[in-house]
Structure formats: structure tokens, C-alpha cells
Amino acid sequence: MKLALGLLLILLTIGCSKNETPPASYKPQAPAAKIDPATTATISGVISFDGAAPKPQQIDMSQDPACVVGKVPPNFGEAYVVNGGHLQNVYVYIKDGLGNYSYPTPPPTTLDQKGCRYVPHVLGLMVGQKLRILNSDPAMHNIHSMAHENSGWNESQYPGGDAIEQTFSKPELMIPVQCNNHPWMKMYVNVSTHPFFAVSDADGKFTISGLPPGTYTLAAVHEKMGEKTAQITVGAKYSKTADFKFSSSDIK
């Protein structure tokens, strides 16, 4: 009996030991310099996928009639969108190498809910930039951000309701945003301290422009397959290409 009780106590101790890494606090640096627009460079590239991509999963939206108004074409999950070997929805950004520049806060970026889908599926924005969330659906949605470094939030939005505006105060990658009313609705927000990021389009293409000359670590992040990096040096007014390749072996 004592042995059994002891085992229970040991197991309780083990069970409580799933430690989460405490979020590193972000301390923005004081702005120092402005970029000379006459010297900026551009990096572009293509994200490809090697091997057999996971079969797209069809979404069943029947649990909310407002999501299937009229003739709705089949909907599929967007975790792996591969078109002719090109991978969509990869967030590409300058991970390292930028000096201490100051950047104006860009105008708000928009996230829409249309056909009970998030449009876009992956987006990037800057720290302090407004995220403007619209509901173009006849359905009620809730928008639930599950950030770790930033504050999370959860708000409901009536059909055609007023836009919701949110900002993020710290850089963070792949923040899941989910609708708990329609569990297939999931998208990812990426927050950066600078404006040098892009999301690969349907052809896997991305372009980052306005970069000051320098040597950078360029990173490509996928929601399921993680991050890949590359070193790249650009001179004044350069246009360089940097391609990334993901493969089925990256699927975790």
C-alpha cells in the first residue's frame, strides 16, 4: 500500500513537470538611423516543396448553415498548399543582420473572414501596426489569438459587425488565431520589429524590398514544418534571389 502511494506521489511530481519556457521579454532598441531609399535592395525567391505533399483535407462546414449559403465549392485545409511544387503561406523575414534603423509604422493590415475562412491564412505585420479584422460572412465569428509573447485576446464579431482592431507589442512568430465557433478556421500572425517580411503566394513567390545594404540571415517559416534560414548579402540597389526548399521529411 505504501509502495503504491509512493508511486502515485512520484507520478504526480513527474506530471507537473511540463515546464514552458518563460517568454523572453522584448525590449525595443532606441531608433538610431533612417534607411536611405536610394540605396535599398530587394530579395525575392520561390519556396518549393519536394516530395509528396500531404493530401489536402476537406472541411465540413455543415455545422453552421451561415457558412454554406448558396453553392459553396469544396473547402480544404490550408496547412500545406502546394501548387506545382511551389509552397504557399510561408512567412519569410529578415531574422538577423539589420542595424539599428527606425521604421515608420505601416498603415493597418487587414484580416477578413470570408466564406468561414480567414483571408489571408498567414500574415505579417510590424510591432505596433494595427491589425484590422473584418467579418464579411453572414455568420458570427470569434477571433481568438493564442499568443505567447504578446497578450492573447478573444472577441466575438457579429455578421458585418464593426471592424476589430488589435496591435501586437512584441515580435512573435506564427501566433495561432482561431475561431472557436468554426474549429477549422485557423490562421497565423507573424509580428516583426521591422517591415522586411513577406508571405509566399500561390506560386511560392515572395519579395522583400527596401532593404539597406548588408549581410542578413533570411528565414522562411512554415506553420507545420518549422524554419529554414539562409545567409544573404546585398549591396546598394541589388536584387538578389534566395530560394527555399521544404520537403516531406520536414513534416513533424
Binding site: 502511494l5 472541411i59 448553415p65 458570427m140 481568438h144 485576446w153 507545420k224
Partner: protein
């Protein structure tokens, strides 16, 4: 417990009421499991109101139907518990039953508060786990209330002959250990389900809990099989344990292995996890029942011998 039951009288209406409360609580547990299994915990983002209203029913579609449905059943169970506490206070002669009634009301208030905190704090695993554990505790108490209010319990109180709990192992403590083991599993399981704990403790816990429950059930059957309530609880625990283990494997396969990257919760994922939660609740209630019946029907051999000497003297 037995000293104050001498004046208790069987009340069929009260007994039926406790049974209704137990059934409603079981439905509430299923409704709660449906909320989690469908990722609908935050479909209604405010609390205690739902979309700003305390009484207006929102469109029952998508995740809202699970979350708001859960809230509506919870409110009904809360109302039934208030009635139970007041009814027990007014009509039951047993002081411990009256205290139990009020304790259950306190538990419902705590449970409602935990439910609110899960929404307000956006599902922290430790609050959600506490919510799951209090839910199953409350359900077990509703089952015990039903037993305590039954004709059989009340009418056998006077004629009950306690038997010696002899042997190298104290069966009453072993029965209590089954409750502890299932609680441990409930903690690990709910912690894993709500994203706070690894799966391994739940797996190891399943092995330990299985050993303890099998040990206790067979001890109950082999040594005290002549005592009907102990026999009944032991058989029920064995049966539920087998079902629960199979459901555990099914839930793991459908949700973790096959459904890891599912674009939305699939019916198989929802069915297996909800059933696993529901059968877990039944298992905990039966372990409570076994412990209660063990303490009611058995006594230390030394204590019984002393009682007999006193009677002879």
C-alpha cells in the same frame, strides 16, 4: 455516519430527485466534454453573460451550441442543487446529509466560478483541469446522494452487521486508494487534454490505476463477495475499467495519432474522447461507492471483538 441515520425515513420523491440530479450532472459532464472536444471553449467569449445577455439564447450553431448548451445545462444543475440543499436541510434527519447537501452547493458555486475563469483567462490548463476534476467530484457526490437517499440504504441501517476487515491488507484503505488512483488519472488525463501535461504520466498512471483497481475489485469479490454492495461495486469497477482502457486507446489513436493534423475535430475524435471522459466519471463514482460501502459494511477485527465483548458483558 450510521449513528445519525436512525431517524432517517425513506422519501421516494427525494430519492427520485437525487437520481434526476445525478442524471443531469452526467449529461452536463458529456456536454462539457463536447465543448473541449470540439475546441469550442471560447466560442462564447464573455461570462457570466453570453454575448452580453444573461437570458437571451444565441443562435445555437457551430461551437456556440456546445458552449452555450453546456452553460444552460450547468445553470439547470445549479438550480437543482439549490433545491437539493434546501430540501435535504428541511427533510433529512441525518445531519451529515444536510452538510453534504450544502457542501454540494458550495461545490457547484466553485465549479461555476472555475468555468467562468476558463473563459475569462482563455483556457489556462490548470483552471480547465480543476474544472474537470471538480465536475467529476460533484458527479460522484450526486451518485452517493442517490445511494444515501435510497430505501435500501436507509432500511438496512438498523439491521446492518459489520464484518471484520481482516487479513494482511485493510480493504477499506484499499478502496480509498482506488479513489486516489482514479483522481490521479483524472488529473493527468485532464492536464494532457488541456495542453498542460505530457502524455507519459497519464500512460504510466493508467498502468498503476489499473493495478490498484484490479487488486481492489478482486479483493472485494474474493473476500467480501457475500456483501452485495461491495460485490456490485467491484464488478462495476472491473467492467468500467476494461471499457475505459479501450476508450483510452481509441481516444489516443483518433486524436493524437490519426488526428494530429486534422483540419477540424472529426466525429471519431469527439466520440472517443467524450466517451473516455464520461466513463472516467462513472469509474470515479463507483470507486467512491466501493469506499463508502467498505467503510459501512466492514470494521477493524479488533474493534468488532471489543464490541462483542461489551455486548456479552
Amino acid at each position: 455516519m450510521s449513528s445519525s441515520t436512525q431517524t432517517a425515513q425513506y422519501n421516494p420523491a427525494y430519492h427520485r430527485f437525487t437520481l434526476i440530479l445525478a442524471i443531469c450532472t452526467f449529461l452536463l459532464i458529456i456536454a462539457g466534454a463536447l465543448v473541449t472536444s470540439n475546441d469550442a471553449g471560447l466560442a462564447v467569449p464573455d461570462w457570466p453573460t453570453s454575448f452580453g445577455s444573461l437570458y437571451r439564447i444565441p443562435p445555437m450553431v457551430g461551437g456556440i451550441k456546445y458552449e452555450h448548451g453546456h452553460r444552460m445545462i450547468a445553470e439547470f444543475v445549479g438550480l437543482l442543487t439549490i433545491i437539493l440543499a434546501v430540501w435535504t436541510q428541511r427533510k433529512d434527519a441525518r445531519s451529515w446529509m444536510r452538510k453534504l447537501g450544502w457542501f454540494m452547493l458550495l461545490l457547484v458555486i466553485i465549479q461555476g466560478t472555475l468555468g467562468g475563469l476558463t473563459v475569462k483567462m482563455r483556457l489556462p490548463w490548470y483552471i480547465s483541469t480543476a474544472h474537470a476534476m471538480v465536475a467529476q467530484t460533484f458527479f460522484s457526490l450526486t451518485i452517493l446522494m442517490t445511494v444515501f437517499a435510497s430505501r435500501r440504504w436507509i432500511e438496512t441501517t438498523r439491521t446492518l452487521t459489520r464484518q471484520p476487515d481482516s487479513g494482511s491488507l485493510n480493504f477499506r484503505n484499499l478502496a480509498l486508494l482506488t479513489v486516489l488512483a482514479v483522481y490521479m488519472q483524472l488529473f493527468f488525463g485532464a492536464g494532457f487534454r488541456h495542453g498542460g501535461l505530457h502524455f507519459l504520466p497519464h500512460l504510466i498512471g493508467a498502468c498503476i490505476a489499473t493495478l490498484i483497481l484490479v487488486w481492489a475489485s478482486f479483493t472485494g469479490l474474493l473476500r467480501f463477495g457475500a456483501i452485495k454492495p461491495i460485490r456490485g461495486a467491484s464488478i462495476a469497477i472491473l467492467g468500467l475499467l476494461v471499457i475505459q482502457l479501450l476508450l483510452g486507446v481509441a481516444a489516443y489513436m483518433t486524436r493524437v495519432v490519426w488526428g494530429k493534423d486534422a483540419v477540424q475535430p472529426r466525429p471519431s475524435m469527439v466520440a472517443t474522447t467524450v466517451a473516455h471522459v464520461a466513463v472516467g466519471a462513472l469509474l470515479l463514482a463507483h470507486c467512491f461507492m466501493l469506499a463508502v460501502q467498505a467503510y459501512r459494511n466492514l470494521a477493524p477485527a479488533a474493534g468488532l471483538a471489543a464490541d462483542q465483548k461489551a455486548v456479552v458483558a
